[in-house]
């Protein structure tokens, strides 16, 4: 029995972090035994709530009922909606989740950059103007941090202090869970996260982070409810240590 099968209990009780969960869900998509076990263990866990039942304040009922009157139930799922992405070969889970991300490596590889250089608005007789992303990527003082997120993809953050901007490029990035977005953050020298925009839902992309990058000591990605949050509500799934950038 592989390690992944043993995660049914932790998964059923929401005890996996976002990345472990994403990995396990890919496994679930192709493992009937685990799906059946997860269903049973969720039922079992739910029974535990019997022992802690407490009647809620009456006002909650009104809030709930007035809330539902303002939204309709979602359209039902129809058969054409694809199920979770085809699973890749299993990887042993269980290593300490954040450890890989905290180690900054400097192996940036940029793919597909050439294709972006010709900006559509460039005049014919001019050197093509650079997009904001390219200006950062090609800045003389560009420094970069590459992170391999395992099955979740690869990402590189490039920051130019002179441009005061940072860019993130991703490859094969798993899409955010349904109803969630990846949100980008700058970490200030005081170690506070400052929102730097959302990442579009695409596996391979290049995004300029919103806001001032010159002082940031790190860039983080968190999984947030759709539309993003003002402050991170989850631990980062990736943290790019810019003090280690090369």
């Amino acid at each position: 029995m592989s390690d992944l099968h043993k995660l049914t209990g932790a998964y059923a009780m929401d005890a996996l972090d976002e990345l472990e969960r994403a990995r396990f869900e890919r496994h679930l998509a192709q493992c009937d035994d685990c799906r059946a076990e997860v269903a049973e263990l969720r039922e079992t866990a739910a029974l535990l709530s019997e022992s802690v039942a407490v009647p809620p304040p009456a006002s909650l009922r009104e809030s709930v009922l007035s809330g539902i009157s303002q939204v309709r139930p979602l359209a039902p799922e129809v058969a054409t909606i694809p199920v979770p992405a085809p699973a890749r070969p299993e990887q042993p889970a269980g290593r300490r989740a954040w450890a890989p991300f905290l180690v900054a490596a400097a192996l940036a590889i940029f793919v597909g950059l050439g294709a972006m250089i010709v900006a559509p608005w460039a005049d014919d007789d001019e050197v093509p103007r650079l997009t904001a992303a390219e200006q950062v990527l090609q800045a003389p003082d560009a420094e970069e941090v590459f992170l391999d997120l395992g099955e979740s993809g690869r990402a590189t953050v490039v920051r130019s202090k002179s441009q005061d901007k940072a860019v993130i490029t991703t490859e094969d990035m798993v899409v955010a869970p349904e109803g969630k977005d990846y949100e980008l953050w700058f970490m200030s020298p005081e170690e506070e996260f400052v929102a730097a925009g959302l990442m579009p839902d695409a596996a391979d992309q290049t995004v300029v982070l919103d806001g001032s990058a010159a002082e940031a000591i790190a860039v983080g990605i968190t999984v947030e409810p759709e539309g993003g949050s003002k402050q991170p509500t989850t631990d980062p799934i990736a943290l790019f240590d810019l003090t280690e950038a090369t």
Binding site: L7, R42, A45, S51, A53, P55, D235
Partner: protein, 204 residues
Amino acid sequence: MTDVDHVRPVPDGAPQGAPSGGDSPQLADLLRRSALGDEGAFAAFYDATSARAYGLALRVVRNPAHAEEVTQEAYLDAWRSSTRFDPARGSAAGWLLTIVHRKAVDRVRSVEAASARDETWNRETAPIDHDQTSEAAQASLEAARVRNAVATLTDVQRRAVELTYFGGYTHTEVAALLDVPLGTAKTRIRDGLIRLRDLMGVAS
């Protein structure tokens, strides 16, 4: 508790003395009607499940105001996604409580990430504090059955399951709290739950 006078109504047509069941086909039917936009059916669904939902949220997030928010969000989600509920894949109560638990856990982790670590201290020093909420907890046969089943777990299994489900800790954190290797925590969480499943006769 301020709302001791609040009595949990029994859902329409539910057999007496069996309001708790995740099991009850009535609940699944209420959800099915909710999916068609029947707000009255959803109100009945709420009445039949809200003590468990709120109690669970309260147990995990501890702060009553947060617990209310979590519960409300969970019900709104349940309403919105009632069209996705599939009775073939599990009970209606189990489905709802899965949503509640996930939201409660998200909340407790984000509170922790955002604010300092004082919450952690609280949770660590009183990780299995039943009494905080149980005075108000509803006595029911089902609850007694659950407690009896939990009592048969080994000490490590019980603590692993409780820290995970009620504490909202990740399995990595549970391993650290119990000072056991991660693999052990993972296994205890799973075999504890499997034992409960077998004792309580849960089948998919």
